[in-house]
């Protein structure tokens, strides 16, 4: 595909390339916000829930689709790609049936749910909620103590990084249990969905094998997921 830039587009681009005036205090405000985030400590928001992606089915995809692309015509004939309504319904039913079959074949996985209250729960464990906790709003919003554990006998250090500690590699070091070789830390986490990982030896990004995984929309890396609160 040839580059689409001509003289007119060049003029438009020249106009758009003008850099805006940067407020004199822009960098100072960034640094102040960074400091405030550090002081605030564990974050209660889930950073990834509000990321909006452009729809996958865009006009250019339609343009490239075999359904939209004209078929090459044989000499003297005109051919069109036609799909009948009954065939379309049949394909839809087959796809739905295949979906049910695949879903039935996969093992069921429950989200990691932490108990509300003072007890410590372990990340990655599936735990039932307290039956009458829904009636107590304060209890619903109170941070929950969660134990994060990683088996890494040969590691010299392990730190917990997540949205609840601003991904600060120095904020939550794990303590080593010399008997088992596992590392653990107990952290108070606000109810909600959180993503996290372990930083082994200060450099190796390691997921929690006990927890579900999710891809971080912003940075492209995988993370472990914990959902704290009522199910």
């Amino acid at each position: 595909m040839p580059e689409e830039r001509d003289e007119l587009i060049g003029h438009i681009v020249d106009e758009l390339k003008a850099l805006p005036v940067v407020p004199a205090d822009a960098t100072a405000r960034v640094l102040a916000r960074v400091d405030a985030a550090r002081r605030a400590g564990p974050s209660t928001r889930s950073d990834d829930d509000d990321v909006i992606f452009f729809p996958a089915a865009t006009d250019e995809m339609q343009a490239q689709s075999p359904l939209a692309r004209p078929m090459p015509a044989a000499a003297g004939t005109r051919r069109r790609f036609v799909i009948s309504v009954p065939a379309a319904i049949g394909y839809a039913l087959a796809a739905t049936l295949a979906g049910f079959l695949i879903r039935g074949a996969l093992p069921k996985q429950e989200a990691t749910v932490a108990l509300l209250g003072d007890s410590v729960v372990r990340a990655g464990a599936t735990v039932r909620p307290v039956a009458d906790a829904a009636a107590n709003r304060e209890a619903q919003e109170a941070p929950v103590a969660v134990q994060f554990v990683l088996d890494a006998a040969r590691a010299s250090s392990v730190a917990l990084v997540g949205d609840f500690n601003s991904w600060d590699g120095a904020a939550t070091p794990l303590a080593r249990d010399s008997a088992s070789g596992s590392w653990s830390a107990v952290v108070k986490v606000a109810p909600g969905r959180h993503v996290y990982a372990f930083l082994v030896d200060g450099k190796t990004w390691t997921l929690d094998p006990r927890a579900p995984k999710a891809k971080d929309s912003d940075y492209g890396t995988e993370q472990s997921v914990i959902i704290v609160g009522l199910k």
Binding site: L8, I9, E15, A37, T58, E60, V161, S217
Partner: protein, 179 residues
């Protein structure tokens, strides 16, 4: 614009505050330009850029130096802009451009102002995915492979978006330029 000295990024990654400030200084104007053109609102753009750099600071230890820093930064910025657009779509939208530079010591060139406004209006009328691709390619000067890493879209899809954006802008602005 040349790329930033990677030693500054490495120092910022190790927690050097002055290096991080230098990094913000270096990229702030470009990020703000992209955000203003994407969002059409200087306040939202400023907020998105501020938020981007706070997130960059929080995630610097995860930055893989095999990835170009600029691509990584724009990936975060593009996502911030998308998030803001999603929020804005739920509110009534007011098109407010501001702070575009002009020499305040000379009388304003009316034709230039009209031309600039027409471009901004046409840009705002583009579908967001096409606007993003056009800005990354032609204004930020990125390669399609880098754009793919930023947007998550394939190279052919991005080329198509840029092509359609150019066609749209040409159609909307050819008459204005001739006038």
């Amino acid at each position: 614009m040349s790329a930033i000295d990677m030693s500054i990024v490495q120092r910022a990654k190790r927690g050097d505050r002055a290096a991080f400030a230098a990094l913000v200084d270096f990229y702030y104007a470009r990020c703000l330009r992209f955000a203003v053109h994407m969002l059409g609102n200087s306040q939202d753009a400023e907020e998105s850029v501020q938020d981007t750099f706070v997130r960059v600071h929080g995630a610097l230890h995860r930055y893989d130096e095999f990835d170009r820093f600029e691509s990584w930064l724009f990936r975060i910025l593009a996502n911030r802009c998308r998030t803001t657009m999603g929020r804005e779509a739920r509110r009534s939208r007011v098109l407010v451009y501001g702070d575009l530079p002009h020499d305040r010591g000379t009388p304003p060139d009316v034709d230039a102002i009209v031309w600039r406004e027409e471009i901004q209006t046409a840009l705002a009328a583009l579908p967001a995915a096409q606007r993003e691709a056009f800005l990354l390619r032609h204004v930020e000067g990125l390669e399609y492979e880098e754009m793919g890493r930023i947007t998550g879209a394939g190279v052919s899809a991005l080329k198509m978006r840029v092509k359609r954006a150019c066609e749209f802008l040409r159609l909307r602005l050819a008459e204005v330029e001739r006038a």
